[in-house]
C-alpha cells in the first residue's frame, strides 16, 4: 500500500502531532515498512477464520452496579493547570 507524504501529515494532524518535513519523511518511511509487513499478512488465506477481537482468549468480566468512588476533586485538581468553581479550565473552545 502506497503511503503519501500527505497521508502522514493527515495522520499527524488527527493525533495532534506537529511534524517538520524531515520528521514527516522519516515517519512516512517507518509506516511504509509497517504496512509492507501488513501486506505480507494480507497474503495469508484467512477464509473461514473469525476476526480476532482481542488477543486474550477470554471474555469481559462485569462489575456490580455500585458506587465505589468518592469525591476526590480536590486531589485531582491539584495537578490541573487552571481550575475555578470546581471546573477544569481549558483554552476557549469555539463551537
Amino acid at each position: 500500500m502506497a503511503l503519501e507524504h500527505e497521508d502522514v501529515r493527515r495522520a499527524a494532524h488527527l493525533a495532534r502531532l506537529s511534524l517538520n518535513d524531515d520528521e514527516a519523511a522519516h515517519y512516512a518511511d517507518d509506516i511504509r515498512r509497517i504496512l509492507e509487513m501488513v501486506d505480507r499478512l494480507q497474503a495469508v488465506d484467512t477464509q473461514g477464520v473469525a476476526p480476532l477481537a482481542h488477543p486474550l482468549d477470554s471474555t469481559q468480566r462485569l462489575r456490580a452496579d455500585e458506587v465505589t468512588e468518592g469525591d476526590e476533586r480536590e486531589r485531582f485538581q491539584r495537578c490541573a493547570p487552571a481550575v475555578e468553581d470546581g471546573l477544569y479550565l481549558v483554552p476557549r473552545v469555539v463551537e
Partner: protein
C-alpha cells in the same frame, strides 16, 4: 409543482439509569457539584482500566428484547478517537462493529389512530462525555466531567420515517419503552434523552434517497418536530432554486427557528475506530438473556392494545393512558377500585390531568392517590354524589382535607338528594320565590322553554347546595312548570 417526500432517520441517545458509570464506580447522580463525581477512570488518568457495569449491559439487552431485536452472543467495544476537552481520554469507548443489540422494530402510534413499524438498525452501548461551559472564565472554557462515563444506549433507526409527526411518534415510542422498562428516566430537559436527526428530501415516487443533513442534539419533542419542518423547507427551497443539498452536520437554533451548518463532509471527523484493547469481548449466555426476557414488564404497545380490546377504550384514550408507565399504573389502579374503565379513563384524563398540568406536577407525584380517585369515581357511578359534588370532593382530596372520598362526602354533606319529596319541596319554594320568571316561562313558546328552565334548575341546585340529582330536578321542574 413538484411533490416532495421527507425521509427521516433518528439516532436517539438514552442515558441509562445505573447508579454508577459504565466503566467506573463513580456516581451518575444528576446535579452534583462540578467534578465531584469524576474519578480517575473518568478523567482518563494514566494507568486506569475500565471495568464494565453489569446493569448497563442488562438494560441494553432489555431494550433489545423489548423491540424484538436480535441479541448477538458477542459484542465488542471500540475506541472512537477525537480530541475535545470534555473527553479527556482522547477517545470515546463505543461499539462500532459488533453492537450489543442487533436489528429490531418499534411500533409507532400515529395521530389518526393507526400504527407504523419503524425498523431499528442496531443499538450500542457507549459512554457519555463531560460538559463544556462556555460562560466567561477569563476567556477560557470550564469543564465539568461529572457526566463523563455515564452509560448511553444509542438507538439508530433505519430511514423509515416520512414526516416530522412520525419522527416525534417514534421518539415518544422509544421514550415510553425505556421508561416502562425503567432503564432511563427519559428526562429530555436534563439531557437523559438526546436526538440526532437525519433529514433528506426526494421527489415523491423516486426510490433513491436524497443527500441528507444531520441535525445534532435536538433535545425536546417539540424541537424535533420544528427542526425537521424547517430543515425540510430549507432543502426543498434550495433544490427548487437550482442548488444541491450537501452532506453536512447542522445545528438547530430554536430561537431563530432555523438550522445552521456546523461542518461539511470534507471537514468531517475521521474517528479511526479500532477495538478497545482494555476491554474484552462481551459474551452473553442464553440463560442470562432468557432470564432478562422473562422479567420484562408489559410494554406500551401491548398495554395500548389491551386497553382497547379488553377495556373497550377508544384508541385515543388507550394511547394517552399507556403513554407512560406511571400514567398506565395510575389508571389501572383507579379502574381496579371503581370497577369502570371508561369512567376511570375520563377522570384520569379530565379532572386529574387538568389539575396536574395547571400545577406542573407529574402523575407519579399526584397529591390525589389512585386509590382516593378510585373511591371517588365509585361514588359517582353508584349515584351517591352527582358530578358537581364530585368535583368539590376531588379538590378537597387534592388539598388534603380528608383521607377518602366517603369521609369528605359525609363531612361536607354532599350526598346526592334523590328523595323526590325533598326535591319537590325545594322546587315549590323556588317557584313561589320567582313569580316573574314563572310567568315569563309560561308565556314562552315550547321551544324557548328548554333554555329558560336552566334558571330554575340553577336555583334548585343552589338551594340543595349542589346535592340534588340534576336529572330528577329537571324532570320534576318541567312537570310543575308546565302544569298551569
Amino acid at each position: 409543482m413538484m411533490q416532495w417526500e421527507t425521509v427521516i432517520g433518528l439516532e436517539v441517545h438514552v442515558q441509562l439509569a445505573t447508579q454508577s458509570k459504565i466503566f467506573s464506580g463513580a456516581s451518575t447522580a444528576f446535579g452534583s457539584q462540578p467534578n465531584s463525581q469524576a474519578c480517575a477512570v473518568d478523567l482518563g488518568l494514566p494507568g486506569v482500566l475500565p471495568v464494565l457495569n453489569e446493569a448497563a449491559v442488562a438494560m441494553a439487552v432489555q431494550f433489545g428484547l423489548a423491540i424484538d431485536a436480535e441479541i448477538p452472543e458477542t459484542s465488542v467495544f471500540d475506541r472512537k478517537n477525537y480530541f475535545y476537552p470534555d473527553l479527556p481520554k482522547g477517545y470515546q469507548t463505543s461499539q462500532m462493529y459488533h453492537p450489543i443489540v442487533g436489528p429490531g422494530e418499534v411500533e409507532v402510534a400515529l395521530d389518526d389512530g393507526s400504527t407504523k413499524r419503524v425498523r431499528v438498525h442496531h443499538a450500542h452501548l457507549e459512554e457519555d462525555a463531560g460538559k463544556s461551559l462556555h460562560e466567561d472564565y477569563h476567556g477560557m472554557t470550564g469543564i465539568d466531567l461529572n457526566r463523563a462515563g455515564t452509560p448511553l444506549l444509542e438507538i439508530v433507526s433505519e430511514p423509515d420515517m416520512r414526516s416530522a409527526k412520525e419522527a416525534v411518534g417514534y421518539i415518544r415510542a422509544i421514550h415510553a419503552i425505556v421508561t416502562y422498562l425503567g432503564i432511563s428516566d427519559g428526562n429530555m430537559a436534563e439531557g437523559s434523552m438526546r436526538c440526532d436527526v437525519n433529514v433528506s428530501v426526494r421527489p415523491k415516487g423516486q426510490e433513491a434517497f436524497g443527500t441528507r443533513a444531520e441535525i445534532k442534539n435536538v433535545n425536546s419533542f417539540r424541537f424535533v418536530e420544528k427542526a425537521i419542518a424547517c430543515e425540510t423547507q430549507r432543502q426543498i427551497e434550495l433544490i427548487e432554486d437550482g442548488g444541491t443539498v450537501i452532506q453536512e452536520t447542522r445545528l438547530y437554533d430554536p430561537e431563530a427557528d432555523e438550522t445552521r451548518s456546523m461542518r461539511t463532509k470534507e471537514e468531517a471527523n475521521d474517528y479511526r475506530y479500532f477495538p478497545c484493547p482494555d476491554l474484552l469481548p462481551v459474551v452473553l449466555d442464553r440463560a442470562y438473556v432468557d432470564h432478562l426476557r422473562s422479567s420484562l414488564p408489559e410494554l406500551p404497545a401491548e398495554k395500548r392494545a389491551r386497553f382497547e380490546s379488553e377495556l373497550g377504550l377508544s384508541s385515543y384514550d388507550a394511547g394517552v393512558l399507556s403513554s407512560s408507565r406511571p400514567m398506565a399504573e395510575y389508571f389501572e389502579a383507579v379502574k381496579q377500585v371503581c370497577g369502570d374503565a371508561k369512567q376511570a379513563a375520563n377522570w384520569v384524563q379530565g379532572e386529574l390531568s387538568g389539575q396536574l398540568n395547571r400545577e406542573g406536577i407529574d402523575i407519579a407525584e399526584s397529591p390525589v392517590t389512585a386509590e382516593q380517585l378510585g373511591g371517588l369515581v365509585k361514588r359517582v357511578i353508584d349515584g351517591t354524589i352527582n358530578g358537581k359534588a364530585a368535583k368539590q370532593v376531588f379538590i378537597a382530596l387534592w388539598n388534603d382535607e380528608g383521607q377518602t372520598a366517603d369521609e369528605l362526602i359525609d363531612a361536607k354533606g354532599l350526598k346526592q338528594v334523590t328523595d323526590s319529596g325533598a326535591i319537590e319541596a325545594m322546587i315549590d319554594s323556588v317557584i313561589a320565590d320567582s313569580p316573574v320568571q314563572v310567568a315569563q316561562y309560561r308565556e314562552a313558546e315550547d321551544d324557548k322553554r328548554g333554555k329558560m328552565i336552566g334558571y330554575f334548575v340553577g336555583q334548585v341546585m343552589k338551594a340543595s347546595r349542589g346535592t340534588a340529582n340534576p336529572q330528577q330536578v329537571n324532570a320534576l321542574l318541567k312537570e310543575k312548570l308546565d302544569q298551569a
